[in-house]
């Protein structure tokens, strides 16, 4: 019996079966990868590389060092503060709202209403949100005026100013709180009612239930959600631009000015600035993913 041979068959036998399959099916996702490379990966990578270069294109760590100069460092610090405060405030209040609506013994319509409003409110950000808060808490805003008319109390006399760190943080909370509600809702839903009942059945009080069961289960997703909120606020620029303009020098405002008009007089420093931003948001998201993996392990 002669064995049939043919160069094509030999070739096919030589390579693993999935190679030939892949070479044609890859074609289907080429447009996506081309798009991703052109409009996501390469632009960002180029920025990152540019941060490590000087104006002649040579490798240098100068720009990274310059990030720690007083003015830029203080800019990062303000960004971190605004993001952290709005993240912590947003996550605590958002959690309270979500918990109360999802398992607080309230009527059934509260839950879908809260989730719907959160979906809408979390998208009401940027320039219109700044306008809304100016119209409400600005010097002639509705609340400001009402408080003067009803209580004779002018909040601006206490040194409060909407166009400040505190004002920006308060405005950021408007989309941070609903975002928290949306992110943490599944985790709260995952708290089975039977765990509460079982713990009571075994003699635990409400406080002991929280201490031994609910909080240990909830803190990883809560912390993770706070990190998401932090990254979200850190990368925000439109709201700040419309509200505080360049008076509050957060990193994104500085970067905006740099892109517009090279205020730093050093292109590569601008790239380093962007690199620093990616580092902060990337780290937060990585930590979020790690925490989510940790908590999901138990709840399989």
């Amino acid at each position: 019996m002669t064995e049939v041979t043919h160069p094509a068959i030999d070739r096919a036998r030589a390579a693993p079966p999935w190679v030939s399959q892949l070479s044609w099916t890859w074609l289907g996702v080429v447009p996506f990868f081309v798009f991703a490379l052109m409009f996501l990966i390469i632009p960002t990578a180029l920025l990152a590389v540019g941060g490590f270069q000087d104006s002649h294109g040579h490798f240098t760590l100068r720009n990274i060092a310059d990030l720690f100069s007083p003015s830029i460092l203080s800019s990062y610090l303000i960004s971190v503060k605004v993001s952290a405060v709005s993240a912590i405030g947003g996550s605590l209040i958002g959690f309270a709202l979500a918990y109360v609506a999802l398992s607080g013994g309230l009527p059934a319509w509260v839950r879908p209403t809260l989730l719907t409003f959160s979906g809408v409110a979390s998208n009401f950000a940027g320039v219109p949100l700044a306008f809304a808060f100016l119209a409400t808490l600005g010097r002639v805003g509705l609340v400001t005026v009402l408080l003067v008319k009803l209580f004779g109390f002018n909040i601006y006399s206490t040194g409060f100013n909407l166009l400040s760190f505190f004002g920006l943080t308060l405005t950021y909370m408007y989309f941070q709180i609903p975002l928290m509600v949306l992110i943490i809702a599944p985790a709260i839903d995952g708290l089975k009612r039977e765990w509460r009942e079982a713990s009571a059945n075994l003699g635990a009080s409400a406080w002991e239930y929280w201490r031994f069961i609910a909080l240990p289960i909830l803190w990883p997703p809560m912390l993770g959600a706070s990190l998401l909120l932090f990254a979200n606020a850190f990368g925000a620029v439109a709201t700040a631009y419309a509200l505080t303009g360049s008076s509050l020098n957060i990193v994104t405002i500085m970067l905006f000015a740099q892109i517009r008009g090279d205020v730093l007089h050093n292109q590569n420093l601008g790239y380093a600035l962007a690199l620093g931003m990616i580092f902060m948001t990337g780290l937060s998201n990585a930590a979020y993913i790690w925490l989510r993996g940790r908590s999901e392990r138990w709840l399989r």
Binding site: E194, W195, E197, A198, S199, A200, G203, F212, I217
Partner: protein, 361 residues
């Protein structure tokens, strides 16, 4: 039941939700160490009753007394009853040992005592090496045993089980239910067991409470419930039944006409009138093949279906509009009847359970 042996008293318990009454006039006295099942279809109120004993629902009226003490309004964390949930409800962030020891930890018992009690409980459920596992690393059957150990660790006065086996595979169910019963007997703990599976209730219980639509239909031992059902619901819910429909011929003599054949019911027709539509029930095991001497009932029909199930041969015999199933043991020397073959079946008069017209009492 004399006053001294009443351990758990459920006294005319009622629970109303907005539009519906979930539980009505439930009256039950349980003796110490007794295993009582609450049996019924979904929505019959058995779980609500159990949850009232546990303290998760507040009765609208009535009382619950444990060892003489009224616990009706006590919060659930102060009742000293142990509950096993259908979904196991093990705390996912704690190991098996931590789960089992939770109740003792909350009671602030010393660590050494907790450690020893946990070991004892794990040995009882035959999982002594799984103390450091997390719930997600264990099978359903293992999780349920841990849930049982957790409930028993606090030495409760009553053990409550809410359909603990429904979420498990059939094979594990049988093994685990026997294990539960043997643990219960060893510890002598008073137990209330909720289930919709009548086979489970029959095999495990000292007494069964059959419930339907919030009310108690019958309370009795498995033998009583099965052989002497007091209402049509109990008769049809517990065990399998053959039902024959016909008309009353003569109420004094208990004669009924079914598909042009006459049979006699020993009792149950006292209140009926001649001509009333009538339905009776027969347990499959009371029906035999062939003629019989004496004054037993006889009916002639044709074999509609024969199912060879191994040790049992299930034969379905059709009369005109009615049909009955009967089981006979496999006999290698006797081949089963063929489809279409005509044969006679017989059953005693006392075995005829009259379902309709309903008799008083």
């Amino acid at each position: 039941m004399e006053a001294g042996t009443r351990f758990l008293e459920i006294d005319d318990l009622q629970k109303r939700f907005a539009q519906t009454t979930a539980v009505e006039h439930v009256q039950l006295d349980v003796t110490r160490g007794e295993f009582v099942s609450l049996l019924g279809p979904s929505g019959c109120g058995k779980t609500t009753t159990l949850r009232m004993i546990a303290g998760f629902e507040l009765p609208s009226s009535g009382a619950i007394r444990l060892d003489g003490v009224d616990i009706t309004r006590r919060p659930p964390n102060k009742r000293n009853v142990g509950m096993v949930f259908q979904s196991y409800a093990l705390f996912p962030n704690m190991t098996v040992a931590q789960n089992v020891g939770f109740g003792l930890r909350v009671a602030k018992r010393p660590d050494a005592e907790i450690k020893q009690r946990v070991e004892e409980m794990l040995a009882l459920i035959k999982l002594p090496t799984l103390g450091n596992r997390y719930p997600y690393q264990m099978s359903g059957g293992q999780q349920q045993r841990v849930a049982l150990a957790r409930a028993l660790a606090i030495r409760p006065q009553v053990l409550l089980l809410d359909e603990p086996l429904s979420a498990l595979d059939a094979k594990i169910r049988v093994a685990l239910r026997n294990e539960i019963r043997s643990i219960q007997r060893t510890l002598g703990i008073t137990t209330i067991y909720v289930t919709h599976d009548q086979e489970e209730a029959l095999s495990l219980s000292d007494r069964i409470v059959v419930m339907n639509e919030g009310r108690v239909e019958q309370i009795g031992t498995p033998f009583e419930i099965y052989n002497f059902p007091r209402t049509p619901f109990v008769a049809s819910f517990v065990g399998t039944l053959n039902i024959l429909r016909g008309r009353v011929v003569d109420s004094a003599g208990g004669r009924i006409m079914v598909d042009d054949q006459e049979i006699v019911a020993a009792h149950g027709l006292e209140q009926a009138r001649a001509g009333d539509p009538c339905s009776v029930a027969l347990r499959p095991e009371v029906v035999s093949l062939g003629e019989t001497g004496g004054n037993g009932n006889r009916m002639r029909g044709t074999v509609e279906d024969v199912n060879f199930l191994g040790s049992i041969v299930r034969i379905r015999v059709r009369f005109k509009n009615n049909a009955i199933s009967l089981d006979t043991f496999n006999n290698p020397r006797l081949s089963p009847p063929r489809q279409g073959q005509s044969l006679t079946v017989n059953f005693p008069r006392e075995a005829v359970l009259v379902l309709e017209p309903p008799s008083a009492g």
